[in-house]
Amino acid sequence: MNTLVAQRKRNTLGTIGRNWVLVFLVLEFGYFAILTRGFASLNIVQMILFYGTEVFLLATAELFVIITGGIDLSVGYVLGFATVISSKLMVVFASRGLSPLGAIVTSILITLCVGLIPGFVNGVLVAKLRVPPFIATFSMLGVCQGVSELLMQGIPAKNLPPLAGTIGNGHFLYIVPGSGISFMQRPDVARGVRVIEIIPNAVVFALVFIAIFAFILTKTRFGQHIYAIGGNIDAASRAGIDVKKHIIGVYMISSFFASLAGIIYVMKYITGKADAGAASLLDAIAAVVIGGASMFGGSGTVWRTILGCLVIATLETGLRMRGTPTFDKYILVGVILIFTVVIERFFPDFKR
């Protein structure tokens, strides 16, 4: 009888332990909601999501690589590279007489293709030439930064089609209380009429891709093989898994996501610059670790990584609203990171 109670108690504790990031996030949000007037509102939640979009994407990118036991330091500057390419292309296409929408779509497609190149090179370096991932992607970071700066020549891209900003800063759904709803398009209403905006386009766009790749990771053979490679690379190759191909694929997925993040950056801020994603790299890695993935590979889920991102994004928005300087955020992210690792060291059962 007693053991049953003890077991139940342990199960409850275990459940909390396994989901401590979620608990932490709720507490964190509660803390800011109590301290800051107006924090617990639809707008703030959407703001957290909106400003966190790039980190969501970079963290998902990083997760795939980290599951295989690697690391991709280049994602931040691949993001920057993608902002430069796509903004330049948009300007060029628009000035050549393409319709704004045509110019934007064409630029996005070209950027996504070009954005696969850094990942392919990283993958080949790591898988075929056995360069340590840290070195391979660190070099790629430099190359991307340099190439982006060369393309920019110190001048940020200007005269982007305004439509880019309209889409990037628009929302998926608009509700005008009492008069109707509208998708994607801001309704024409008189000034002062309240319009409720639901889910920024950038967030929708990011979540669609994240959901697709979460599906790939959990439901397909490719996903299963990535975990196997991270768990025991020899076992994976002896089981007939083409390890090299998978590793190249993973780095390509990583730079694909970094390019997506770059495109979203351009659409949000209507500019492109080489160091657009420089600060996001560490947030992305931190988010993956807070989400419980092991840096040695073999574990981690998209869902938990997103929770990790939200912990950081909530912190950032919360502190900004309280008017605290940003370096407080760096300190806190550092502390949370250490806290995560310590928790997992002491309570290994808490891992999935």
Partner: protein, 250 residues
């Protein structure tokens, strides 16, 4: 004799070193053959040729009496030659059924267009192969990390059996196991024998060898120096053959 697997005069050289020198041996279906020898005697190289890791420089390997070329470990697997390495080659972060199906996962159609993993099927099949071998593992959803050494060995064996092994090569199957677990693994080997699988065991544990093997092949300096039926030899004689103090009568 109709060996299920046989080598005829296979030789493997690494540079100037002849690791395996003109070795002929065979295993019958339902027979356990132990390969013994000191470190560097060529045991590992020999089984690596049979499992497709190394290509022999000379000689042939015959499966069911038919000569075949093994280009890669995958070729060997496709032909029903399964190898359990000393490190077991399990992904510790994955669960039991994922490991049994590793690299050969069963998928099903979902929404008419995606091939998704069919976990339910894999769990059922894993359960049935474990039951057949009378292996007790509490939950197939447990990761390998949570299992004991013997249970891991059992999972590795089940994986080979599930994929219809005709020949099972085991490298030091009882090393690093507790006494009780060693016995379980040996029992498992005996039950595999009754299922008509040809088994090659490499081991240093003389007791284990005499417990399960039918025949012993002793290797020294790359050569097959003696073959003995377990029923007609003693551990002392085998030790003598391994170190080379016993005169060899062929």
């Amino acid at each position: 004799m109709g060996y299920i697997i046989e080598t005829r005069g296979i030789t493997k050289r690494f540079g100037g070193l002849t690791a395996v020198d003109n070795v002929s041996m065979g295993v019958n279906a339902g027979e356990v053959v132990a390969i013994l020898g000191d470190n560097g005697a060529g045991k590992s190289t020999l089984i690596k040729m049979i499992s497709g890791v190394h290509k022999p420089d000379e000689g042939t390997i015959l499966l069911d009496g038919k000569p075949m070329k093994l280009e890669s470990p995958m070729d060997a697997l496709a032909n029903g030659i399964e190898t359990i390495y000393q490190d077991l080659a399990l992904a510790e972060n994955l669960n039991v059924s994922s490991n049994i199906f590793l690299g050969r996962e069963k998928t099903k159609r979902s929404l008419g267009m995606f091939n998704v993993l069919d976990h339910e099927y894999m769990q059922q099949e894993s359960r049935s192969v474990l039951d057949r071998l009378e292996i007790e593992i509490p939950s197939l959803k447990n990761t390998i990390r949570t299992l004991s050494g013997g249970q891991r060995q059992a999972v590795a064996i089940s994986r080979s059996i599930y994929w219809q092994a005709k020949v099972l090569i085991m490298d030091e199957p009882t090393a690093a196991l507790g006494i009780a677990e060693q016995k379980k693994v040996l029992d498992l080997v005996k039950s595999l024998k009754t299922q008509g699988i040809g088994i090659i065991i490499i081991s240093h544990q003389m007791y284990d060898v005499f417990e399960v093997a039918d025949r012993i092949i002793v290797m020294r300096r790359g050569q097959n120096v003696a073959t003995r039926l377990v029923s007609e030899t003693t551990p002392d004689e085998i030790v003598g053959l391994i170190v080379g103090s016993e005169t060899v009568k062929r």
